[in-house]
């Protein structure tokens, strides 16, 4: 019998500490150091359900395990995707794996972007760098139910034009009449004809109604800090700004305490938090 990865809540897993062997179906290089895997259970296709914003623990045998957000379309239940940047020991080992290789997967874990709660509102997505990957499933879900939402705005900042994630998809999204996509880079060569400047500079003129908007923010913590400040300056309330937090996660089910963040565990209570819940500790070096 093929293994079943159908888990809508972390508690539903038979044994959340037991990795399911999964095979890499496809590898796609996104940028110089970032790649996307398409995965399936090694025993054959199995239905895989997740909520946008959740993550899996990926275990490279003999090397280690890392939490990686799911970057695929939640409507695709036959396979699932992870977009990873090779920056550490495990992720560099991941980079060496090829289609057909097997690794262990636990999950999905964690909280989700508030897609349902955003119905009837404008949705502002602000992503920085690889932070676009955990937001891609949210955008896929929003676009699949487009009529339920007001304006949808994607503001994306990358380091250089060469570091822009999912460029073809961004071009396709930008071609839609019912989606506003703005991209900026921190630095550029002469050939780049788009925006230059940090992603926060896109917020003041972005077309959304602050009193009726929900914001989804993912990127490096310092980028999120300035982004939240700018979103609040535009008038979005703290409880309608959602941030994706990152800490050193190990067990992913709130046992080990590695990812404790004030009174919460990132793995179990996060990674997605309404900003008003973390506001008092957000950006504090001691936490």
């Amino acid at each position: 019998m093929a293994p079943t990865l159908e888990i809508s809540e972390p508690k539903a897993a038979a044994d959340p500490m037991l990795p399911v062997p999964c095979r890499i179906r496809r590898v796609r290089n996104e940028t110089a150091d970032t790649f996307t895997w398409e995965l399936q259970p090694a025993d054959g296709p199995a239905r895989f359900a997740f909520q946008p914003g959740q993550f899996n623990m990926l275990y490279v045998f003999g090397v280690g395990e890392v939490p990686i957000s799911i970057s695929g379309d939640p409507a695709d239940t036959q396979s699932f995707r992870h977009t990873t940047r090779a920056v550490g020991v495990v992720t560099r080992a991941m980079r060496q794996l090829r289609a057909g290789d097997v690794l262990g997967v636990r999950g999905p874990f964690g909280s989700a972007w508030p897609i349902e709660a955003a119905a009837g509102r404008d949705v502002v997505i602000v992503a920085g760098g690889i932070g676009l990957a955990p937001l891609r499933p949210a955008l896929c879900r929003l676009l699949a139910q487009r009529r339920r939402y007001g304006r949808i705005v994607l503001l994306y900042g990358a380091r250089t034009p060469q570091d822009i994630l999912f460029p073809h998809e961004l071009e396709r999204w930008r071609g839609k009449f019912d989606l506003e996509v703005q991209v900026t880079v921190d630095r550029s060569a002469d050939t780049w004809r788009g925006n230059v400047g940090v992603v926060t500079t896109l917020i003041p003129c972005a077309p959304f109604e602050p009193a009726n908007a929900v914001a989804l923010v993912c990127g490096p913590e310092v980028m999120m800090r300035y982004t939240v400040r700018e979103l609040q300056r535009r008038g979005i309330a703290a409880d309608r700004i959602h941030v994706s937090m990152e800490r050193n996660m190990k067990c992913a089910i709130g046992f080990c305490g590695h990812c404790q963040y004030g009174p919460a565990f990132i793995c179990k209570d996060g990674p997605i938090f309404p900003f008003d819940r973390v506001e008092s500790i957000f950006g504090k070096a001691e936490v």
């Binding site: 380091r159 490096p220 310092v222 980028m223």
Partner: protein, 155 residues
């Protein structure tokens, strides 16, 4: 003629909201429409800074010449943005180059005239200083974020 045409446009810009009517009329009298083709130089580093611009359409890149890296774009400004603050602060010379990335329409404001008016009426001067100081602070924050290289491999 110019005044009646540009006043409604200037009034609806968030940058000018809160100016008293007497000041707005004065500002309007110092404004004119300008157009630039793609690749046009708007101003050059070191030249006298006697204008500022409100971009109505298009995009302008702010460059700095770095000897090792050549011409580096440090910022772009687009629709609704203000370009140029050097007109308000001595020595009234541009600190960067600015060149259009796309065909651009803008309102150009006579900074030399406005500077004189600000000296004569400090109420006007304070209103301008509040607004331009905020722009300078925002750009300082943005520059610091750029310097942090937040998307770099070691961030």
């Amino acid at each position: 003629m110019t005044t009646t045409t540009l006043e409604p446009i200037i009034r609806e810009q968030p940058f000018f909201s809160g100016f008293e009517d007497k000041y707005l009329k004065l500002i309007v009298s110092c404004a004119k429409n300008v157009r630039f083709d793609e690749g046009d130089l708007v101003f050059r580093e070191g030249d006298p800074a006697n204008q500022f611009y409100l971009i109505r359409e298009g995009m302008v890149a702010v460059h700095v010449m770095a000897s090792q890296k050549g011409l580096v774009t440090v910022q772009t400004v687009g629709q609704g943005d203000i370009l140029g603050w050097s007109w308000l602060f001595p020595p009234y010379r541009w600190h960067f180059d600015a060149r259009t990335v796309r065909p651009t329409r803008a309102l150009a404001f006579d900074g030399k005239c406005l500077r004189t008016k600000c000296e004569q009426d400090h109420g006007l001067g304070y209103e301008f200083l509040k607004r331009f100081t905020r722009i300078v602070v925002e750009r300082l924050e943005a520059t610091r974020l750029q310097l942090l290289d937040v998307y770099g491999a070691h961030s």
